[in-house]
C-alpha cells in the first residue's frame, strides 16, 4: 500500500480529503503511482503529468523521506519507506502564482 499526499488544488479537483492510499502491482515507481492515481481519479489525467510527453508538470514536485525525487527517472524505484507505506509520497505545488 502506497500513501500519496496531493496538493490542495488537486484534492479539490479529485474531490478527496486527506491522503490517498493505493495498491500498486509490481514495483512502486513514480510512473506506477501516477498510473494508479489516474486510474482511480480520471480527473487527474493531465494534471500531474502532461498527456502527450508524460513528463511531470514543471510546477509540481515529488518529495518523500526528506528527499526531492522530482528529477528521478519515472521508472526508478521509490524509497523503501514509501513502497512499504511507512512514509507518504508528497506531490507538492511550487510556491508560485498569485
Amino acid at each position: 500500500m502506497i500513501r500519496v499526499e496531493l496538493p490542495p488544488h488537486l484534492r479539490g479537483l479529485a474531490r478527496i480529503s486527506g491522503e490517498v492510499r493505493l495498491d500498486i502491482q509490481g514495483l512502486a515507481t513514480q510512473r506506477s503511482v501516477v498510473d494508479a492515481l489516474e486510474a482511480r481519479y480520471p480527473m487527474l489525467r493531465g494534471a500531474i503529468r502532461d498527456h502527450i510527453t508524460q513528463k511531470r508538470r514543471p510546477f509540481l514536485r515529488f518529495f518523500a523521506c526528506g528527499e526531492d525525487l522530482s528529477h528521478e527517472q519515472p521508472d526508478a524505484p521509490l524509497p523503501d519507506a514509501v513502497a512499504s507505506g511507512a512514509e507518504p509520497l508528497l506531490i507538492v505545488g511550487a510556491i508560485a502564482g498569485g
Binding site: L13, A47, I52
Partner: protein, 371 residues
C-alpha cells in the same frame, strides 16, 4: 417570466449570477473551482442546462468541466488537446520560429444545435472540436495547416484563438479570430480555411496590410445578419458586410479605437457596443472614466454611455470575452472588469449598475436567457 443566468469566469474561480427578467435582484453562486483560472464558461443554445467551462492553472494545466444542470453540479471531461500531426512552428515575439505548444483553452463555443458538440479555441492557436460532450477532442487542423501558420505570432496575452462564431444560416460556415494572426473563415465545417483580413491596416507590423499578422481582439455578429461582422482590433473598430471578404473602419468619433470587447444588440443588428481602452501599454480606461460606447448606426457615430458607471479614478480593463447581451426586451448588456466588477444594463446601455463589485479579475462574461 424569463430569467437570465450570467456565467462569469475570473482569475480565481467561476461565478453564476441569476435574476428574473427585471434584472434588479441577483443571486450569486460560487466561487466554483476556487483558486483556478476560469478563462471561459458557456451554455449550449440547444440545451441551456448544458454548460462547459475552461479551468486551468499554472500548476496543473487544462481541465474542462461540464454541467448538465445549469451549473449546480459539474463533472470533469476530457482535457487531452493533441495537435494533429507534427505541430510545426509559428513566429515568436522576435520573429524566430517557435514550436506550437498547447497552453490553455481560451474559449468554448457550443454548437447551435447539438449540446454534445462544442468547439474549443486554444493557445497556441488552434481549433478543436468535441462531438461527445467534451470527452474527446480532435483538432480541425485545416486551420493551422492552410499555409499561413508559420507567420502567426503571439500577442501580449499569448497566441490565442479567442473568437468562434457559427453562422446560424449556414452550418458549414464558421468564423474564428486569433491574436496575432487575424480572422479566418471556413465554408466546409472546418476542413479548409482562409484568412479574411482584406481592409485591415495594422501599423505595428512590418507590412500593415499583410494577409495575416493582425491582432484581432474580438469579433461579433448578429444572428439575423450573419454576413455582417464587427471587429475590435488592437487598434481600429472594423466592419464587414460580406462575411469578412473586406473590412472598413468604423471607429468614427471614439475617444480611442483600442479596446478588447465588441458586441451587438440582441434585437437591433446595427446597434454595437465597445469599451475604449487606453493603449499601447496602459490598458485601462481613458481619463479614469469607465464608458461603454454605443453606435446605433452600425459604427462611425458613437455615444458614450456613462450613467451608473464610475466617471472618476477608474482604471480597469474589460477583456475580450467579458461582454455579453441577453435577448430580453429590453436587451440587457453585461460586462466584467479586471477590477472584479460585473455591470449590467437592463435598458440596452442607457443606465448601468454593478451586480457585484469585488470579484477576482473578470476574464469572461456570458449570458443565458432562460424561459
Amino acid at each position: 417570466m424569463s430569467k437570465v443566468r450570467v456565467l462569469v469566469g475570473t482569475r480565481k474561480g467561476a461565478f453564476i449570477l441569476t435574476s428574473d427578467g427585471k434584472r434588479e435582484h441577483w443571486d450569486v453562486s460560487g466561487p466554483h473551482f476556487a483558486g483556478w483560472e476560469l478563462y471561459h464558461l458557456k451554455g449550449s443554445p440547444a440545451d441551456p442546462n448544458r454548460l462547459y467551462a475552461s479551468q486551468s492553472s499554472g500548476w496543473s494545466g487544462q481541465i474542462i468541466q461540464r454541467s448538465n444542470d445549469g451549473g449546480k453540479t459539474w463533472e470533469t471531461v476530457g482535457n487531452k488537446f493533441a495537435y494533429d500531426g507534427v505541430p510545426g512552428t509559428h513566429q515568436w515575439y522576435d520573429g524566430t520560429p517557435h514550436p506550437w505548444e498547447f497552453k490553455r483553452v481560451w474559449h468554448l463555443e457550443p454548437s447551435l444545435t447539438d449540446p454534445d458538440m462544442v468547439y474549443a479555441g486554444v493557445e497556441d492557436a488552434a481549433l478543436f472540436l468535441s462531438n461527445d460532450g467534451g470527452q474527446n477532442w480532435q483538432e480541425l487542423s485545416g486551420l493551422r495547416g492552410h499555409g499561413s501558420g508559420p507567420r502567426w505570432q503571439p500577442g501580449a496575452g499569448g497566441m490565442c484563438l479567442h473568437t468562434i462564431i457559427q453562422d446560424p444560416s449556414n452550418p458549414e460556415r464558421i468564423f474564428i479570430a486569433i491574436s496575432a494572426a487575424g480572422a479566418f473563415r471556413t465554408d466546409d465545417a472546418g476542413k479548409t480555411w482562409r484568412p479574411i483580413n482584406r481592409g485591415l491596416h495594422s501599423q505595428y507590423i512590418p507590412d500593415p496590410t499583410a494577409e495575416v499578422g493582425h491582432c484581432v481582439h474580438r469579433m461579433a455578429m448578429h444572428r439575423l445578419r450573419p454576413s455582417v461582422l464587427f471587429m475590435q482590433k488592437h487598434w481600429d473598430v472594423m466592419r464587414s458586410d460580406n462575411a469578412g471578404e473586406s473590412w472598413q473602419e468604423i471607429s468614427g468619433n471614439l475617444p480611442t479605437d483600442f479596446g478588447f470587447v465588441i458586441d451587438v444588440h440582441a434585437h437591433e443588428p446595427e446597434t454595437v457596443y465597445v469599451v475604449p481602452i487606453k493603449s499601447d501599454s496602459e490598458h485601462f480606461t481613458p481619463d479614469g472614466k469607465l464608458r461603454v460606447y454605443r453606435s446605433r448606426t452600425g459604427g462611425n457615430e458613437w455615444e458614450a454611455l456613462t450613467k451608473g458607471l464610475p466617471q472618476a479614478d477608474c482604471y480597469v480593463n474589460v477583456l475580450r470575452d467579458a461582454m455579453a447581451v441577453d435577448s430580453l426586451d429590453k436587451c440587457g448588456v453585461y460586462f466584467g472588469t479586471t477590477g472584479g466588477q460585473v455591470y449590467r444594463s437592463a435598458d440596452a446601455g442607457d443606465t448601468w449598475a454593478p451586480i457585484v463589485r469585488d470579484f477576482p479579475a473578470v476574464l469572461s462574461v456570458e449570458v443565458q436567457t432562460l424561459p
